[in-house]
């Protein structure tokens, strides 16, 4: 959280690791890796599942 993964933060799912987990996020100008199990704890809007297949932008609704 102190890395800036906060409600309202705009994040982009950049890619998934070769074995599909963890995934790489881009936020506030830097890159972060996070396991899917941990990513599942955050809610996104628009209703976008954080999964390897959904690369794209989203806004963080609620953090873990």
């Amino acid at each position: 959280m102190e890395l800036g993964l906060l409600p309202g933060t705009e994040v982009e799912v950049v890619r998934a690791a070769p074995m599909l987990d963890p995934i790489e996020l881009s936020l506030r100008g830097y890159r972060l890796s996070i396991r899917l199990a941990e990513a599942a704890l955050v809610e996104l809007s628009p209703a976008l599942e954080l999964s390897p297949s959904t690369a794209g932008r989203a806004r963080l609704e609620r953090a873990a």
């Binding site: 959280m1 102190e2 890395l3 800036g4 993964l5 906060l6 409600p7 933060t9 890619r15 998934a16 690791a17 070769p18 074995m19 599909l20 987990d21 963890p22 790489e24 506030r28 100008g29 830097y30 890159r31 972060l32 890796s33 996070i34 396991r35 941990e38 953090a63």
Partner: protein, 740 residues
């Protein structure tokens, strides 16, 4: 020149202590590069006892103002959970008058908001500081423009754009630090919009902070900062040294907030980022226009297919380096030690003292030095991977696999290094952040079959099997067995990790929320300094333990001496020299007598007697007391088993390829007349070596890296226990099935 003048000088009052300046910043923000640039190369590495966190310290001159510069471990915030972060926070804040005089916050300009978060937290404490806006060259290259003046006006402190790796902006930075040091005034408090309820909670905890540390009462800002620190850090942390009362009250306050449907963590962090988001938006005059080098590289290095290929290639190079490239240097050290031993033996009068010096002391120094090439090489690679940014990607790529056994993605490189040698591998676990994850890797990796086990396997395979018999086309029986052993050891290591994750090192797995830093060229100076720091730490901390253990082991294998034996062999030697045989034949006989005497002395030494004592315990595994002596000798290092067996059986200069040793072992019989080395007892012994912690150096380094004897003791107990159990199982089941 010792004279009256010197005495007067020594009685003169000591000059006031230099002020302390701490370097704080996120990991990968270029702190170490800046430290080296500001201080030159005369850094001392301090080590916090018990938790093995290195803090480098050096004198630095800030435009005429001298100061002690401290390079603190990288941290993303003042909220600390790990030992490293705790060191950073304690050194940055301190209690009472013990804190630093000023701080340089190294901010990564390419990740401005996140970097300023740490600066903001420090501003809240009131510590005089300067912000070094590092990597400004990368920002310019990307086409973005950041206005430092806007940041300065908003934060009320100097913000100096620098490029530490190019020595840019350093004199401005020195001037700014000098000004802060001479003035010593606290910066204005940042205007973070915490809610009223949050403020109340912070004040409740702050009141207790003042109660615990009364000296904090003088600066209310600091007690509030400590209160926020407690609310964000305590609970699920790995911190030592936190007063119990503070933990209790913090938990109470937080629980009350949670019950009221509030999230205190969120309430503390979000307003800070809200302030910083506005600020960075104001200060960023132009956004990046160019696609970064990192994006282009990651398109390949993290590609689903190419990424795996790159990963395998990089790991192969590291592995090959440890396994092969280090050998010439290791052999050279071995040769040099042997030459020193010979030279000393030639000069010193024969006797106990000469033996102590040559075999105990010089041999022990050799046992320590022989690790240096592998340690240096491994840390050169790790340093390169870490500083270039790829090490985080290694963890990213392989985390899925490592997680299956409860290990962290960062444990991969240490585990792989374990195939070469557990000592550098254990040292490499430092790249893992959480202490629990680090201990888990440390406990599991000594089961990986290291290169010191290889000579033992080779000797045993060639003794009990027809090793070069082809079984599967070009594959020989020997290589098939060897392959099986390596596979088995890897499986054992991963299983051990999985079991320990569920038992002794149980607990919530820390999340893998990890920055993937931009790719950057490592600074050769930083790499070499880091390698030297690791080698030094090994030599002085683990090296002394290894040296002491070598001497003890030497004494066990040499004493007591049987003087009747010595006299008998001396008489036999005299007989040979006085005989009329040709010189060459005489020499041969003397050498045979020497080997025989060494064997006889070893058999009745303390270790020899201990070996006999162990025999009842070793018999069910298929070993006898002579193997027991070999196992005791092999505690120095596994490959010593081979030469110890040579000595026990009276064969001079034995190594794993020596035919006389192999033939003697093949013929060796137990007291009941049965063969000692059969395929079954050979496999049982190899299995024993797969598991057993026959390596004092591993224990010494685990002691150093874990900070207590508890972990090496556990390591030794569980590995030896498994070794005994599996050997017993193999031998007894094998025999019951009718194998020999």
């Amino acid at each position: 020149m010792k004279g009256p003048a010197a005495e007067v000088a020594s009685r003169a009052p000591t000059p006031p202590e230099r002020p302390q300046v701490v370097l704080v910043g996120n990991p990968n923000a270029g702190k170490t590069t800046l430290f080296n640039a500001l201080s030159g190369s005369r850094a001392r590495v301090g080590n916090y006892p018990g938790i093995t966190v290195d803090v480098r310290q050096a004198r630095a001159d800030f435009a005429g103002v001298g100061a002690d510069l401290l390079d603190l471990p990288g941290t993303y915030s003042l909220a600390s959970r790990s030992a490293e972060e705790e060191v950073a926070v304690n050194a940055a804040l301190g209690h009472g008058g013990e804190g630093p005089a000023a701080a340089i916050v190294v901010a990564d300009a390419t990740a401005l908001t996140r970097s300023l978060y740490l600066a903001l937290e420090l501003l809240e404490t009131g510590l005089p500081l300067v912000i070094a806006l590092n990597m400004i060259d990368e920002v310019e290259h990307s086409g973005a423009v950041i206005d430092a003046m806007t940041l300065e006006r908003a934060l009320g402190v100097r913000v100096v754009p620098i490029a530490a790796s190019k020595r840019r902006g350093l004199s401005e930075l020195r001037d700014a630090v000098a000004k802060v040091l001479t003035e010593g005034t606290a910066p204005p408090a940042p205007d973070v919009a915490y809610g009223q309820l949050t403020q109340n909670d912070v004040e409740t905890v702050a009141a207790l902070v003042i109660e615990i540390w009364p000296e904090e009462a003088a600066a209310p800002r600091r007690s509030l900062a400590w209160a926020r620190w407690a609310l964000l850090s305590l609970g699920g942390d790995e911190l030592s040294d936190v007063p119990l009362r503070l933990r209790e009250v913090t938990a109470e306050v937080r629980d009350r907030a949670t019950d009221a449907g509030r999230d205190l963590e969120d309430e503390l962090i979000a307003p800070r980022y809200a302030l910083l988001d506005t600020l960075t938006a104001d200060a960023t005059r132009q956004a990046a226009t160019r696609k970064s080098r990192t994006d282009k590289l990651d398109a390949v290095l993290l590609h689903p297919v190419l990424g795996l290929v790159a990963f395998v290639l990089v790991m192969l190079v590291v592995f090959q380096a440890l396994f092969s490239w280090a050998s010439p240097a290791m052999n050279a050290i071995g040769t040099a030690i042997a030459a020193t031993q010979q030279a000393l033996a030639a000069v010193l009068p024969a006797g106990v003292l000469a033996d102590l010096l040559t075999q105990g002391v010089v041999g022990g120094v050799g046992n320590v030095l022989v690790f240096v090439p592998q340690i240096a090489l491994l840390f050169l690679f790790i340093g390169f991977l870490e500083d270039s940014g790829y090490l985080a990607r290694v963890a990213f790529v392989i985390d899925r696999v490592m997680r299956a056994v409860g290990l962290h993605g960062r444990a991969f490189v240490p585990l792989l290094s374990g195939f070469a040698c557990a000592v550098p591998a254990v040292m490499a676990t430092r790249t893992i952040e959480s202490r629990k994850d680090r201990l888990l890797a440390m406990m599991a990796l000594p089961l990986m079959s290291c290169s010191a086990r290889l000579p033992v396997y080779v000797l045993l395979i060639t003794t009990v099997f027809v090793a070069d018999r082809a079984v599967l086309g070009p594959i020989s029986l020997g290589s098939l067995i060897l392959f099986g052993i390596y596979g088995f050891s890897t499986l054992a290591s991963l299983t051990a990790a999985a079991v320990m994750r569920r038992t002794v090192l149980k607990g919530e797995r820390p999340p893998l929320v990890m920055e993937l830093p931009p790719y950057r060229w490592p600074q050769p100076g930083n790499l070499l300094r880091a390698v030297w720091a690791r080698v030094r730490a090994f030599l002085f901390d683990a090296g002394t333990i290894i040296l002491a253990m070598t001497i003890v082991l030497w004494a066990l294998l040499s004493f007591p001496k049987d003087h009747a034996l010595t006299a008998r062999f001396a008489a036999q030697r005299a007989e040979v020299t006085s005989s009329a045989q040709p010189a060459a034949q005489q020499e041969e006989q003397i050498a045979a007598l020497n080997a025989e005497e060494a064997g006889a002395q070893l058999r009745q030494s303390a270790a020899g007697r201990f070996g006999r004592l162990l025999e009842p315990a070793l018999e069910p595994l298929g070993f006898d007391w002579r193997v027991g002596i070999g196992l005791i000798g092999a505690f120095a290092a596994r490959e010593v088993f081979v030469s110890t067996m040579g000595t026990v059986f009276g064969i001079a200069d034995a190594d794993e390829t020596s035919a006389p040793l192999r033939q003697t072992l093949m013929r060796a019989r137990r007291t009941d007349g049965s063969l000692l080395f059969t395929p079954l007892s050979g496999i049982s012994l190899m299995i024993f070596f797969v598991f057993a912690c026959q390596c004092m150096s591993t224990l010494a380094i685990v002691r150093r890296e874990s900070g207590s004897w508890r972990w090496p003791a556990l390591l030794f107990a569980y590995m030896t226990g498994l070794a005994y159990l599996f050997s017993l199982l193999v031998f007894q089941v094998g025999r019951a099935l009718g194998y020999t």
